[in-house]
């Protein structure tokens, strides 16, 4: 098989590609060492993550001044992005939208399939190919697992390939959420020895949250990390993730005893009950109140522990906790914008322009 280094998705048929395990797919999403498509959490290796976090931090610091913002706005001002979101999402949508605006990428959106040609009997592939014709980047959220991969493969095999970013597909993948979580951990532990060797607890609905699944997987790239999965039995982390951790030789604990875990960990990742996946209101039968973080817990938490949450939250975290300096979830929201900006810069191979400006700034 011939490998097209500049466009590896041309080297493989769709059927063969689909049969690959996730950890082998990443090679097909790259151009050289850079990510070109961003489709699954498993495609990112440790050097890529380090580089993305570094770029995000530079962008964030450059953005603090009016002159810096104006520099950023010229960086990709010849590009246009299509945000194709056919599933409800305002949070992720706006995060990408703002990241585009920061870099001068002009965004356009398709959010409601009822206004699209799909009603005229067009195939979903034709629909996205048509929309992509006008743009330089597709950012898409779609209910069908694997659909973003399908589009990336399809466009790669036309004479006008454009990069595709998966902004959430089906129950499984939400890779830029995983990137923002890694970036939040990296920033939080920047002056405390980094992510390696830290103890991190996931709490809540671990069975159905793609966020937790992706982050737990990415954390296997950080030696010495110990993961705690704290949930009622019926919402515990699934066996395939445990298998990933075991294969990577990572330490982990599966438990339903929240209060014993609290004093141990450097980070608590809270999640809400994902009852939109319920088939028969089964979530109502589960008492999740023992898995809520309450003000009285703050005193037993380590002084430098961080509290994260992908949001939206319900009652998992009391509002009074927002003002605790360890509450990171609002900062986490903004981190999403910065890491997404970094990702787009990387896809278009412009990080070096950031490096130069930043070096001048700090020289």
């Amino acid at each position: 098989m011939k490998m097209y280094n500049d466009n590896p998705l041309r080297s493989i048929s769709w059927d063969d590609f689909q049969d690959l395990p996730p950890e082998e797919k990443g090679a097909y999403f790259r151009r050289g060492k850079r990510p070109y498509h961003a489709l699954i959490a498993q495609q990112f290796d440790r050097p890529m993550l380090e580089r993305l976090c570094q770029t995000a931090t530079k962008v964030r610091r450059i953005a603090k001044t009016r002159g810096g913002m104006q520099f950023l706005r010229d960086l990709l001002n010849e590009k246009r992005a299509m945000l194709y979101f056919v599933q409800p999402s305002t949070r992720t949508f706006l995060s990408f939208y703002a990241a585009c605006q920061i870099l001068g990428i002009q965004p356009a959106e398709v959010r409601d399939t009822s206004t699209s040609s799909e009603v005229k009997g067009e195939s979903p592939e034709d629909t996205v190919r048509t929309f992509s014709s006008y743009f330089d980047l597709i950012i898409m959220r779609h209910p069908a697992g694997g659909f973003a991969e399908r589009i990336a493969w399809l466009l790669s095999n036309t004479d006008r390939p454009v990069p595709v970013i998966n902004a959430g597909s089906g129950k499984d993948q939400h890779p830029t959420q995983a990137l923002l979580d890694i970036y939040t951990l990296q920033r939080s532990f920047e002056n405390h020895g980094g992510i390696e060797g830290k103890q991190i607890a996931f709490v809540g609905d671990l069975a159905r949250g793609r966020t937790v699944r992706s982050l737990a997987t990415l954390l296997t790239l950080y030696p010495g990390v110990k993961q705690y999965f704290v949930a009622p039995e019926s919402l515990q982390i699934s066996d395939d993730i445990i298998a990933v951790l075991q294969k990577a030789g990572m330490e982990y604990v599966v438990t339903s005893d929240f209060s014993s875990v609290l004093p141990e960990v450097d980070a608590i990742y809270m999640t809400r009950i994902q009852d939109e996946w319920d088939t028969a209101e089964e979530s109502r039968l589960i008492d999740t109140s023992p898995f809520h973080l309450r003000p009285e817990h703050l005193s037993i938490l380590k002084p430098h522990a961080v509290i994260m949450h992908p949001l939206p939250r319900r009652k998992e975290i009391a509002a009074e906790i927002d003002s605790d300096p360890r509450a990171m979830y609002w900062r986490q929201v903004r981190n999403g914008m910065w890491i997404r900006a970094a990702l787009m810069l990387t896809i278009f191979d412009r990080e070096n322009e950031i490096d130069r400006y930043y070096d001048d700034l700090t020289a």
Copy 2:
């Protein structure tokens, strides 16, 4: 109580703030002498109004040339604004949208709560705080009276406050409509001695139009203005506004005799029946036709009188009147764009850049 001059909403609890009368709230919406939040009509004093009108006129004149437009587009091009409109509104929405574009502010919008995280059980406060995380300014329309104030208070008490503009809340406040009305009067009377001492008639549904309530209140800042409230009894201006006028020592007339008022006034402010607030189709029982402005009225109107209407109109003003030089309602629409641009420049403290460019232009 310590007063945070740079962020006075930090100095007061939400409960205490809510108990303040409107005329005392203004001090909490300022940074120094500038408006920082724009939430209620009562927060604007006379010098602020004069300055806003002056800035609006400069922006409008600068915008007449390609070079001027390009200057304007760089003025706030490092800012992003979120237009959070969860109530139907295209007119006000587009006016703000265009005003942002004129100044280079990059807009993003949330208009349909069904796409937002509110469906996932998030509190409205969390929702807006999340969205605000990505932006430098929130422009919001919300059905709940006081919600914009709540958000301004809440964001002021985080480590990332951003200004909030109320684009209409509940039945009560629509402060930028009041600003555009003042600006239209100011422009109309620019060469006729200004607003002071003029006679101004409000006609139509005065009971339920927040527009009239706000403008009548602001006009108490202009000595000598005499206000006429012309409406069928059941739609007359409410007592609280009359009390405001009395307290300010303003002249006023409450009447249902439209034709006797017509020859007296310098401005007629027509309004439509706001039957969206009906609870039992009560508007159908009222004959409003005696309160319509008809072509035959034009001859008894003063030669320099101006005809205003916040739009949309139904039959209150016959279409033939549009071509009369005294018809100001289409110009009023554009004035809304200019005064909103002026307001955003003021909030971000950039009027001085306008002044400098304008001085060079007219030197």
Copy 3:
């Protein structure tokens, strides 16, 4: 009758204008020799089409570099456009949206009348006039035939006329689709003697596709073109188009024999069944499969013939045909963006800036 050369729609009453035949309306949509409004296919003469195609090609070539894109983005960056689309359309909408972005025109959109003031009893004319107040160009799609013309006439008779582009109205007109089709033919035959003298087949639902009607009409401007109309009897081209061809002295063939036409033609224009216009599911009774283009047809098609389709497609063209070099429909999509950019440049009289930059580029 006095003719306002700078605004001819001021010279005529709405009633008189409506009575004009299409070929006489064009004079009213011009400013000098340029199109000012773009409302019907018949308004374009041959020199205008040549000039538009030339400008589109220059824009397309300039857009190939980052510097070129940045030049383009400054060309109309003092303008704002309103995309008023009250009929479902994503394809045409995004094409205009992207074309605006390429030229630096800032777009705003109104797509859903339920959010507009029409619900408050406003007339459609008032609604569009209000929206137009904030913008420099109206691009509109509306279900009512002639509504775009009505708005162009109306705005021309105010003191703030702005150009109007028809992006599809009723069953009849979609002039920019016709422009992109002409541009695709012009590009395809650029090195094969141009459009004149070519044989072009229209296939499918010719009775109800406004696309075919417009293009067939425009092709009368190209001497020697022979047109084939290939369709089941009940979906054949209507008599009024045949009359246009006869009057212009063009050759044409009306047939239902697809396979005999295939080897003859230089271009095949495929269309889908427009069953959204069905009144009683009558399309279901027609067997259209004999009018599908199949892979086995490729061998009997001329080596330089081009295959076009306005998209969306259903089964008229098998997906395997996409990779044939004669398949032009995906390129056709992008051509729509380029020709719309050229049209807007022409409306605003900026083609000469394109010419200068292009001359420098190729000098």
